[in-house]
């Protein structure tokens, strides 16, 4: 929709503008020595300007059809020149016709020949006005699209922030807390020392989540420590069903990584891998430096028949979304599933740029 005709105030302002152009043209026509009185000139310019106001609206569609940024200059100039010439010529011809029509009325006797003698002033004015309309419309379009881009950028920023918050909030599964508290409850009489150890582990883990979650980047060593903290707690609950193997390159421990990026993956390994298995299994965590990148691997076994709870996707989707937001394609997450009969291995590999500070 044409941006000027879209609302009433704009149309009104536009028409007032053309009214003043009509007055200006009257002033130009009057002293040309052809004996046109101001009233006679105005009788021509007013209706002609109102008419041209609408003809110039065509410039907007023209500007939309051949956008500045995408069109070749010669084509641009040629099209607009042709359009301006045609409209101005049409306008001038119509004004001549209008003058002849006015002649029929008493106060405008012999207006036609006198107006013709004034020369094609309206033709040149028409050219100029049409070109101005084109320039104005291009400015309007540029302004609008920059505003749209700004809105969109703002919207994206809000979305990214929301995703980040959701990812962080989803970190601590309340059932993990309930189960841990139940383990402590069981240990209090049977093994008070273990109950205390478990309390401290749980407190360390919660504090770690809160502290690290509020930072932008943390050392990889801290992130791995938190994941191990989590696994230690789950070891108390799952007993001999859970074993953990780790192989961490000391070289990459100082890499700065987004906080809580491993924790949801380790949690997945337990809730969807080890916990549903009758005999449990081993979770492997590996971290290696490759040039300027760090590769982190989390691997766990799973039983196909036990995998009824869908939901593995959520944690991985969150991590992937955060990586995209934070690294813009410089980081990746690969998920691999090897299934052999009922047993399978689930591998998640993260690759992040290693930024040391």
């Amino acid at each position: 929709m044409n941006p000027i005709l879209i609302n009433r105030t704009r149309t009104l302002v536009y028409l007032v503008l053309w009214l003043s152009i009509a007055v200006l043209l009257t002033v130009i026509l009057t002293p040309s020595g052809t004996g046109l009185s101001p009233i006679e000139a105005f009788a021509i310019t007013l209706p002609m300007c109102l008419l041209y106001a609408f003809i110039c609206q065509a410039a907007w569609y023209l500007c939309k059809a051949i956008p500045l940024s995408e069109s070749a200059l010669p084509r641009l100039v040629a099209t607009h020149a042709a359009a301006a010439f045609t409209s101005a010529a049409l306008w001038y011809a119509l004004s001549l016709a209008w003058a002849s029509v006015l002649e029929a009325a008493v106060p405008f006797e012999s207006l036609g020949p006198r107006y013709r003698a004034a020369g094609p002033i309206l033709f040149f004015a028409g050219l100029l006005l049409f070109v101005l309309a084109i320039v104005f419309n291009y400015l309007l379009i540029t302004f609008e699209s920059s505003q749209r881009a700004e809105n969109k950028a703002l919207e994206l920023q809000v979305l990214a922030r929301e995703a980040e918050l959701r990812a962080l909030r989803a970190q601590i599964d309340p059932h993990f807390l309930f189960n841990s508290l139940n383990s402590i409850n069981a240990l209090i009489m049977a093994d008070p020392a273990a109950a205390r150890r478990m309390c401290v582990l749980l407190a360390d883990f919660l504090r770690g989540c809160l502290k690290l979650g509020s930072e932008d980047r943390i050392r990889l060593a801290e992130e791995i420590h938190l994941a191990e903290n989590y696994l230690d707690i789950e070891k108390v609950r799952l007993g001999s069903r859970l074993t953990v193997e780790r192989s961490i390159d000391t070289q990459c421990e100082n890499c700065r990584v987004p906080p809580l990026i491993l924790q949801p993956l380790v949690e997945n390994a337990i809730t969807h891998g080890i916990a549903p298995m009758l005999d449990g299994g081993t979770v492997r965590i590996e971290a290696r430096q490759y040039g300027s990148n760090v590769k982190i691997l989390i691997e766990n076994p799973f039983e196909r028949e036990s995998c009824r709870t869908n939901g593995t996707g959520v944690g991985i989707r969150n991590v992937r979304m955060r990586l995209t937001n934070l690294f813009n394609g410089d980081a990746r997450i690969d998920v691999k599933e090897d299934v052999n009969e009922n047993r399978g291995r689930f591998r998640v590999e993260l690759q992040l740029p290693c930024i040391e500070s």
């Binding site: 309930f178 189960n179 139940n182 069981a186 609950r237 916990a275 549903p276 039983e303 028949e305 036990s306």
Partner: protein, 245 residues
């Protein structure tokens, strides 16, 4: 004397229940089970009055255990997940304990169980069989109890099911498994785009179908990949063609 079986995959959770229950003189713990298979076996072997049953366990969950035990028993669910609460009440569980819980809360549940046991208001078997799945959900596997053993058959490995008196016989990978159930119940839980009632007595996994033969006017035979011939009724043929189209 109330005979109780504890079913939980976490050793500490079982320990806690054992500790809480040790103060009761009229309660005997007849079995402690670390998974659903053990629970089914224990119910067969020891016939407890009451199960303290965890829901999320490896291989068989608490609801599936109920489906398999096939006898009247009191059940108190013990879990950290309150999302199961509604279903627990649908299957007429005696009570529902959310981890972690106090000894007092357990006492309340046990009192309720005693009252129910005395009034003989236990879990009806038809509720037990319906318990394994939320209403409307499709089965992903079929559970079959064979004495104290449990067979878990993923539905994709079923060739066909055949009605035999009060039982349904499932054919899977050359073996036969009998389950006390009606064919209509089986049909209701299987995915209708994969399993078609081709005959009053047969449900066929359409992926096993090799070809259809016309052997009399209005009646067909389904030939399976392994050569088995199954009768197809007229309405069965209509259902089959609408699925295959």
């Amino acid at each position: 004397m109330m005979r109780i079986a504890i079913v939980d995959d976490e050793q500490l959770a079982r320990k806690l229940l054992r500790e809480y229950l040790s103060s009761y003189e009229d309660i005997e713990i007849v079995a402690e089970c670390a998974n659903g298979f053990e629970a089914v076996k224990a119910v067969t072997d020891f016939k407890p009055d009451l199960l303290l049953l965890d829901i999320q366990m490896p291989r068989l969950d608490g609801f599936e255990v109920l489906e398999l035990i096939g006898r009247e028993v009191g059940v108190i669910f013990v879990t950290a997940y309150d999302k199961y609460a509604l279903r627990a009440f649908e299957v007429h569980a005696v009570d529902y304990l959310l981890k972690p819980f106090s000894a007092e809360r357990l006492r309340e549940a046990l009192d309720r169980a005693k009252a129910r046991l005395q009034a003989r208001q236990l879990l009806p078997i038809e509720d037990l069989t319906a318990a394994a799945r939320p209403p409307g959900a499709r089965a992903e596997r079929i559970l079959i109890r064979d004495g104290a053993n449990v067979h878990v058959i993923p539905v994709s490995r079923i060739d066909y099911a055949e009605a035999q008196d009060d039982y349904v016989c499932f054919r899977s990978e050359g073996k036969r498994y009998l389950k006390q159930q009606t064919l209509a119940d089986v049909e209701a839980v299987l995915d209708p785009s994969q399993f078609v009632r081709i005959h009053r007595s047969y449900i066929l996994n359409v992926e096993r179908l090799a070809k259809l033969e016309l052997y009399a006017k209005d009646s067909h035979a389904a030939i399976l990949r392994d050569g088995t011939r199954l009768p197809v009724s007229r309405s069965g043929y209509a259902r089959l063609s609408s699925v295959l189209r």
